[in-house]
Amino acid sequence: MILQAPRYTQQSMVDPAGPKAAMVDHFWHFLIITASIVTAVVFITLLIALFKRRRPVEPQEPAVHRSLTRWVSASAAMTLVIIVVFLVLDFRLGRAIATVPAQTPLRVNVIGHQWWWEFQYPDTVPSNWISTANELHIPVGRPVLLNMSSPDVIHSFWVPNLSGKKDLIPGHATETWIEADSAGVYRGQCAEFCGLQHAKMALLVIADPPAKFNQWLTASRAPADEPGDSTAKAGKQVFLTAGCSVCHAIAGTNAGATVGPNLTHFGSRLSIAAASLPNNRGNLGGWVLDPQRIKPGAMMPPNGLEPDQLNAIIAYLEGLK
Amino acid sequence: MRRERIVADVSRLPNVVYGSRNLVSWGTTGFMIIEGFSLALCAVTYVYLRKNTIEWPPHGTQLPQLLMPTIALAVMVLSLPLAWWTKRRSERMELGATRIGLVLSSIVAVVVFGLRLGEFASLHTLWNSSAYGSIAWTILGFHATLILIDMYDTIGITLIMFLHPESKWFPEVADNAIYWMFTVLSWVPLYFLVYFGPRWI
């Protein structure tokens, strides 16, 4: 079946939703216009040279040679001028993009694992630390400083609508900042080849107005609420015994493994499997039963669950709002 | 087809020439440049890895011993005049003297290779212990292969000059001597890098 990706703004660097992407977008317009003019001039000259009437002049004549030399040196000089202009604009833009704005940024740790993203919201109070996966909630209008690292291979964090990419290299702590001007859901994808499921290592950046963001933040700090009805309770039991707790953690239960993503507020997420499937019962069931059919090579093994166990687990996970 | 107008006759030109006039020396020079550049890249990697870590050599690794390597370097440097002498003799096509020079050069080459094999122990680290150990062993091993190839070349040319002497092999003897000088001179900076790097940089 064709898997529907979750709803988000069409990824494109020429449809910026953040200051950094906007600056590059303006620079891109300068680039595309100059390049088109220069290409057009060169092509027109080439075509005229090919199809113009031939004057029977001897091409080796010094006069012809001198005029050609003048034309060629003029065009070389023109190329140099264009390149110098390009360099000046580029250096100014480069400095503007690199400097983090004065406003105190929100700090988020980004950890790239093999084929999913982990976002940690650090806090002075250790118990307030949040670890979530594949969906980065950020407040609109406020810069977010990302401290990025990778425990396994090189990944690259890139959300085209917001900013340029930055590599996560093992052994190097890298830093970049992003900011969203307007609320919305922006999709990004790992841009450095990182193995079997590099193609489906996507992420969503959910930009909310500050009030809504703070509301999400406090909700995320709370541990998972107890399951309501009986199937959800049975689901919790299955979760703890059927091996899910060997890799996943849910704050508030004694499942605390950090091998796989943290599922504390799984129910409130828009997508599952590194933002490659919308989060609904059907996809969740298919994913839990046999992840290898959707993402062959992913680290999550197929789980032989009985139908009632599967329904219980889905009810429990969807209930973790 | 065009007619051809003969303008000169080249059959009187010499057949045995030396230095940059000789085709084969261009080949040896080419490979000297390639090997020299590869050694330079290893040296750059050494400095890069050094700049990348705080403790060099890593905590707990003993500094490399200096006695054996210095002896090996001394023997190599002392063999330079011998190589120069052999080169001069081969350029003068003195068969007897060249043969003596070649035999001595072969012996020196074997001794130097033996000393080099002993030198690995004085690094006081293993290749798989840390990046420091890896790059030190690689520089030593890379240069050791150069010495091995040059030793083999010297012994080969010595055998040819004894069993199959011809005038066209004299330039090869000269090239071999130059190649030995290159191998020795390329080791001098690397020696200081590998044995004094941990102490100074």
Partner: protein, 646 residues
């Protein structure tokens, strides 16, 4: 080869028979293995490289089939990773550089007017080492052990922990093979161009094609060692657990990127420069005038050669290197457009004042200029760090380098093939098939790669085996896949043209295009000794300037393979040098090198076995033959000082 297919009578049949007996060597398969004639080795380089070009083309077609629809089922992730890595590795290491080496090896002796390259045996060994490298990686690929970490194999992924098995080891050893072959060919081309030119061919009369091959060779000499040390470090990290790239033990993942791209960017210019040389060599024949701005062209080639070594960090703009350092590389990357621009302006000036003849080589030349200019534009754009941070490792970059390589390497190569095919085989390629081949490829290139610019800007990263339905990349990818079919059909037309013309093509005389190069002074195909007598060169277009009487020098020995060695600057005759002739030993030494490196992948015992085998074969390779040259008699014990030649 239908060898005796010569339209014109030979000037001196007796001399031809005598020389041919010495230079031709045995026929048959063994003779083929023993040949050290630069023409047969160059033809093998080009033919093998084109076979790899077809294989890589099939891989590209399969990849495009997989990417034509979202969530397609043609290739799974593991096979797709092998396919795109093999496509990149084959095109870069097994096709582009070797084919340009083959063109260089074939033409340099003919263009500079000598009988063979400088080190014929080493040259033959170089080809065999390259062939063994190609067979090694493709046998691995056929048994599911093709490399799967990208043609650049960034370290932690290609390192011992994340690439189990022998896939990346086979890739790393293949690099050692192709690098040895390229280094040997580079030393051969430089020595031939500087020491064996025809008398009178001073530095300012060397054809531009030879200049481009020489600068390519210098770049090979300074670029290949970087990838050699990098692949040596990677192989040692994987096999004997050294820690060059292990951040926990002092290594660094960026060390691999620095070493690889220090080679990587010069590599693409190694391929590109002979392309410009081919265009500058064939333009005079199709515009009926000498190429305009010879000094400008040569200086641009040399300038590109130098600047290419100062660009490599533009592949690493997204890594945590300091911003100021990266801006230096922005400036260098943008400035490299100046020499390339000058070359294109000189070509357009040549066409402007010439009388263009629209034959297939000229069509491919125009196509290459158009495609290369578009590629150059996007090249300057991605020199800027902020813009590159948006489009690095996306399909915008895939579009850029395909435009630059198709425009700078593949189209000029096809132009060169259509131009020199008559000289190599004695038969013309058909013009109608040529035009079909050109137009299909021209349209195919634009249909395939122009949409990729948009895909890249819409966020589609490189090396993805599939993409989701909702990303909106589906239709542009479908157009690209359609374009790939058009390119595929154009290559099929080319193959048909070559196979048909080998048998039934029109007989080409010694100078079918009436061009000015010295290579057209020989018959087609040239005799095994190229020039019976050493030609003398008076200017930059020898055949046009010397009227109908070619000045020559006689006196080279007729009973053995002897060549004239001239001085490097003004090419005055200096000495005579004897080549050892055809021998099987280069093949055997190459096989021992192959055994040495292939067994090293699987067991450290490869080291002793390989060394002993290699040295034994090399001894036999070097040992003087029994029938040593009569003219150099055994030396008396001591030769009086005076007679010793200086």
């Amino acid at each position: 080869m239908s060898a005796t297919l010569r339209a014109e009578p030979i000037l001196e049949p007796a001399l031809d028979v005598e020389l041919d007996r010495v230079w031709r060597g045995r026929s048959g398969f063994i003779g083929w293995l023993c040949s050290t004639d630069h023409k047969s080795i160059a033809k093998r380089y080009i033919a093998t490289a084109l076979v790899f070009f077809l294989l890589a083309g099939l891989e590209a077609a399969t990849m495009r089939a997989q990417l034509s629809r979202p969530e397609n089922g043609v290739l799974g992730p593991d096979t797709y990773n092998q396919f795109f890595t093999m496509h990149g590795t084959t095109m870069m290491f097994l096709f582009a550089v070797p084919v340009m080496i083959g063109v260089g090896l074939y033409l340099t002796p003919l263009l500079v007017g000598t009988r063979n390259v400088a080190f014929p045996r080493a040259n033959a060994m170089g080809y065999w080492v390259y062939l063994i490298g190609g067979i090694l990686i493709y046998s691995g690929f056929f048994v599911n052990s093709g490399p799967d970490a990208g043609w650049f194999a960034y370290v932690p992924l290609s390192g011992p922990e994340f690439s189990p098995g022998k896939r990346v080891d086979i890739w790393a050893q293949m690099i050692t093979f192709t690098e040895i072959a390229a280094l040997i060919a580079a030393v051969v081309i430089i020595t031939t161009a500087f020491k064996m030119r025809a008398p009178g061919m001073s530095l300012n009369r060397i054809p531009v094609m030879v200049w481009s091959s020489v600068v390519m060779s210098f770049m090979i000499i300074f670029a290949m060692p970087a990838v050699a040390t990098a692949s040596l470090f990677l192989a040692m990290d994987r096999l004997i657990s050294t820690h060059f790239f292990n951040p926990a033990e002092g290594g660094d993942a960026l060390l691999w990127q620095h070493l690889f791209w220090f080679f990587g960017h010069p590599e693409v210019y190694i391929m590109f420069l002979p392309g410009t040389g081919i265009i500058s060599a064939l333009l005079p024949s199709f515009t009926r005038r000498k190429v305009f701005g010879y000094p400008a062209l040569v200086l641009s080639i040399i300038a590109t050669g130098f600047i290419a070594f100062a660009l490599w960090v533009h592949h690493m703009f997204a890594t945590p290197l300091p911003q100021l350092g990266q801006s230096f590389f922005t400036a260098a990357s943008a400035l490299v457009a100046i020499p390339n621009g000058v070359q294109i302006f000189c070509w357009i000036a040549t066409i402007w004042t010439g009388r263009p003849i629209f034959r297939t080589p000229l069509l491919f030349t125009i196509g290459s200029i158009i495609i290369f200019v578009i590629g150059g534009m996007t090249g300057v754009m991605i020199a800027s760090i902020p813009f590159d941070l948006q489009v690095h490792d996306t399909y915008f970059i895939v579009a850029h380098f395909h435009y630059v390589i198709l425009g700078g390497v593949v189209f000029p190569l096809f132009a060169g093939i259509y131009y020199w095919f008559p000289k190599v085989t004695g038969r013309m390629l058909s013009e109608t098939a040529g035009k079909w081949n050109f137009w299909l490829m021209f349209i195919g290139v634009h249909t395939t790669f122009f949409p990729m610019h948009q895909l890249g800007m819409e966020g589609m990263p490189r090396r993805v085996y599939t993409y989701l339905e909702g990303t909106g990349w589906g239709d542009l990818n479908a157009v690209a896949s359609l374009g790939a079919l058009i390119i595929f059909s154009s290559v099929v037309v080319f193959l048909g043209n070559v196979v048909w013309s080998l048998r039934h093509g029109a007989i080409a005389g010694s100078n079918p295009w009436d061009s000015e190069g010295l290579e057209w002074a020989t018959t087609s195909p040239p005799p095994s000794y190229n020039f019976a007598n050493v030609p003398v060169v008076g200017g930059r277009a020898p055949l046009w300037e010397s009227g109908d009487e070619l000045p020559v020098m006689t006196g080279l020995a007729r009973d053995r393979q002897q060549v004239l060695v001239t001085t490097a600057l003004d090419a005055e005759p200096d000495s005579r040098h004897d080549h050892p002739g055809h021998t099987i030993w280069p093949f055997i030494v190459a096989v021992t090198i192959g055994i040495f490196f292939i067994t090293l992948i699987f067991t450290p015992w490869g080291m002793p076995i390989g060394t002993v085998l290699g040295f034994a074969a090399y001894a036999r390779y070097i040992w003087p033959k029994k029938n040593h040259d009569p003219s150099i008699v055994e030396l008396p014990r001591s030769v009086p000082q005076s007679e010793v030649p200086r």
